[in-house]
Symmetry: D2
Subunit: 342 residues, 4 copies
């Protein structure tokens, strides 16, 4: 099978990562690469790491430019995907790296994004219960947010096995690429190197309702989430420290068993051997998620920690993995679990 | 007043930071600087940033070397302070940057440090209720751990005002200097740059009982703590994200008021204006702690976040601040609240 | 003496660093702090590390705002200083951190800066031959560029002693703060962390004629300079590797002797003991320059390497040092040679 | 073809990178992975990024362990390769990532490495004149040093075309992985983050004679080299700034033409479009070398700058590329020119 794929929003970090992965995908041929303000520029000046595409010129994002592809990846600012997707035929696989179609609850969408809800598409986190089946043959995919990817992988086994009380407390550190490529003073290298800072504190981060949606689905009841994201001095990576009170009677063996069972067949999730903890460095540039879990018996809490690359498993890798499933390819095609380390 | 001060353990990061601050202290004259394996070497090769002391030679740590000083700072590996302190007279002010005399509960000490409990000294976190009074005229001071400093400052106002349930969930990121200068593979620049990783997960970190001790004292009841430390790719700084369930009926105004009241007169703690969140970069090299707090009404949790420099306010700055109080000097003498940024 | 000082351009990195140093200066009282687009904002939101000035409001830069001060520091974009300086009386000490008055040669100015030459002021690098005398009692000071500071300190002793051929090859690495606080894509943390890149290659960097001016003055003949600046993944610091062919017959002892002689009495320049090489980390936040020199006998070249903090000795510290001289204060007043390390 | 490959020294950075690349190589099956002090440990604890090999146990390096492979990669400390290689049969392809067989001049070896010269093997930098032919069918390959790779690629076109005087001045910045995984105080994250420092200054770095060897071969006369390496705060990457005086009459067009001609058919070397300069970030984790060159007409010097990943093109990628040639595979098999960025 050769799949012809277009990437809309190819000048940003998400679009660049989609292209990086597609270049290594044996079944994909890269078609149109589009941009907005970057239209007319060569990709080599904007994404100099994408050596084989250096001479490609970005064209303006439009229905015409995106026509004639089997798959279209959208890496656009939130709120812009629906308009583009509408213009693509129902037989085209549209993979949206934006938030537009992630949430099921329209009210949540409107509260957190401040615009009318565009709808809900099959959710591109295959590891979640039921998600893989929903992706098979799908023509529209909503790629999860990077934080919800890391957090949901870390906690769904505990909720699925009813080990944890429905109130999670999550603190995650993200590399700066998660904040995008639009230049802002607080994202300058001078500001972020040597410094950690929180943002979106107190429940305001847009990824919160997405986490609640995923964990609640796994738990079969509403799970409350206290989520604090922090910006870390590194380009890539999310380390999510996820905790929840253990239900009465839950012991460490039960926790371990639940995670082993839930993750046993997952090609991209590695539950580390007991005693070894994940680091974002080990998954740099890879589609792997590294996970560890323990029970703090004194505090009575389950502590699950995941490490992913926010641009790979957290965005573009999840997108390609889901595309593979939708197209009936082996899920791992073109994707690596090997990090670039040190 | 001119105070003659010695520093034992001057080749490490804590000792080096004590010297850096003492060099800027108008009432202190630096006497002996001692080391163990570094004895005989010039300070300039070990601490090249301490320009004015470059030609000083380290001598071996001993009672003789430390005799004849008004103040002796101990920056030794845990468990070694008691033996040295015993040999110093009762009129010498001994400021221990190690853990040996921080804990009141001997069983806690033995559980976490695996050796007999040496005793308890006045605790060098002046901002805690009652701590300042206990330091006045003291001849022995136990400098708090870096994490307990950040965490206790962030949460004691909530517990003192009975705003929070007695179960705190804390995730903190620390710069690598907190792990010391002894070379270990996981602390190599190649390993830590571009990577975040947790350690001491599940209740095992030695600073946990110290946090429990401080928060419980503020609360008047035992406060359970789930504490997860993480290693961040930066040399200095701690960002502590501290959360606790709000007691019923607590609202945002009450939280703000409690923090404003508790911190109003503190020269080194700055409760930031509402909406502004701390960053470790802003307190780099300074004795300031920057703090913000909010109530996540949906999750029902108080989120208090503090940023300190682990080596300054978290170790050597807290030590000098406490020394100032013990000696009857103005508490701020020789200490700065100005960070080196960007 | 109490000197009342204003800072124009207080929202940027240079202006922020001037304020950081002035806050520690015992003879200075900080008056107006002015900005352009930042006028009306509180300094605490723009420079959160300047704790004691957090509640100060920036006012618009104007002759009125800057009136009534003994010293005015200008930290403005290149080309804007002359207009502001003209409006300040001849008795006000004006210290320009910009480039406008550094070059003596109008043609050089016009070639590199593309605007009419505004004039030449006494040059604020006191360590250069004759510079200190010219600064005494001066009312106008041109603060050197950061790279020319590092490079001139490293090479003037060799040229002054006629040890080197008049062709220098210089490669320097700078922290990102040297590129300023205006957000640009290539200065994003995501771009600079984990990456080194050159810029201004081939003779085009504006600091090149300033280096030529300084080295030629020391040599008594025109010194050609090949200068390549690189951007390093760190917020602060310049490491300048400066090489020149040794003149026939020059040996290592002659080189060492020349440097020792030239730098013997300099309070801020430390020629390191033989065999020890400088690092920018050791001068972080300090006004010190660390220097080492050697002769590569096989290649026949003198290699002199200097490390400074680009914002301190390279900009604001040099400015305050020069101010001290101009005002007749001890040159070291309020300035430290102690780096914040690690 | 399926090639069975062993890696000796698999716990270090070079060995880990060889394994990372071999895992992606379609014609290679990974056999023995050996270590010294790490023998008996699982690879997952030492190289957690090598997900698919996590459960492999390292065995002690020995002739027995390495027997039965088609290719053996040696990633051993300098001086240890000869003894191991001797025990491997003449039909086994031995690819030595160490220095032992790089130099042709025994006296140079003894001067810089202090031990008897073991011999000279075909040199694994296929881009150099004549090198590719020597690698075809070779059974022994000496992988170049990381700095000589970056420097030789940057300057050989100028020397091959007789554009430059035979005295090169080179300053290069390397990420810390180049210094290896053995923990040393100056390589701690606390020391290297936020700091640049030189080392091996004055002609003493062991890669100097290797550069001289390569450039002299291209020039047809002895080329003197002044080489200064610096340690940069990043895990990977070399940025080499290489300059040499242009011969009389050489102009920019001639320089450009020479580089275009010399590099036209190289699959891994990209001469960037004029005006664009390389960054190490763009080649992170890839086997590409990005290059740019210009003529500084005022200074009369050619400035050629290259960026490589020191572990990939600078070590393991060069090794695999050379293996491909030796085995008669397409040179690019299993190797990527796509960097992991940002």
């Amino acid at each position: 099978m050769t799949v012809r794929a277009a990437v809309a929003g190819a000048s940003g970090y998400a679009g660049g990562e989609v292209l990086r992965l597609l270049l290594a995908h044996p079944e994909v041929e890269i078609g149109a690469v589009t941009g907005h303000s970057s239209a007319g520029r060569r990709l080599g000046t904007l994404q100099p790491h994408l050596h084989p595409l250096a001479d490609r010129e970005l064209v303006a994002t439009s229905a015409e430019a995106l026509a004639g592809h089997d798959v279209v990846f959208l890496a656009l600012p939130h709120g812009q995907s629906a308009a583009v997707a509408e213009q693509l035929g129902p037989d085209v696989l549209v993979v949206d790296c934006g938030a537009d179609f992630r949430l099921k609850d329209a009210a949540d969408w409107e509260t957190f994004y401040g615009s009318p809800h565009a709808g809900t598409w099959p959710y591109g986190l295959p590891e979640l219960p039921g998600a893989r089946a929903a992706l098979q043959g799908a023509k529209r995919i909503a790629v999860p947010g990077c934080y919800p990817t890391a957090v949901s992988l870390a906690l769904f086994p505990a909720y699925q096995a009813a080990l944890a009380e429905p109130e999670a407390v999550i603190v995650a550190a993200s590399g700066t690429s998660g904040a995008g490529k639009a230049p802002k003073p607080h994202l300058l290298g001078s500001e972020v190197m040597g410094s950690m800072s929180p943002y979106g504190v107190g429940g305001g981060h847009r990824h919160t309702p997405e986490m609640i949606q995923n964990l609640s689905a796994a738990a079969g009841e509403r799970v409350g989430v206290s989520f604090t994201p922090t910006l870390a001095p590194m380009p890539r990576g999310i380390l999510a420290t996820c905790t929840a009170k253990a239900r009465p009677g839950v012991d460490a063996a039960a926790v371990r068993a639940a995670y082993e069972k839930a993750l046993a067949d997952e090609p991209f999730v590695r539950l580390l051997p007991e005693g070894q903890w994940p680091s974002t460095g080990a998954v740099y540039g890879s589609n792997a998620a590294h996970l560890q879990v323990t029970l703090d018996a004194t505090a009575g809490r389950i502590i699950a920690i995941s490490a992913i690359d926010n641009l790979t498993k957290g965005t573009a890798g999840g997108a390609v993995q889901s595309m593979n499933i939708a197209l009936g390819l082996d899920e791992t095609t073109g994707l690596s679990t090997i990090g670039v380390a040190p």
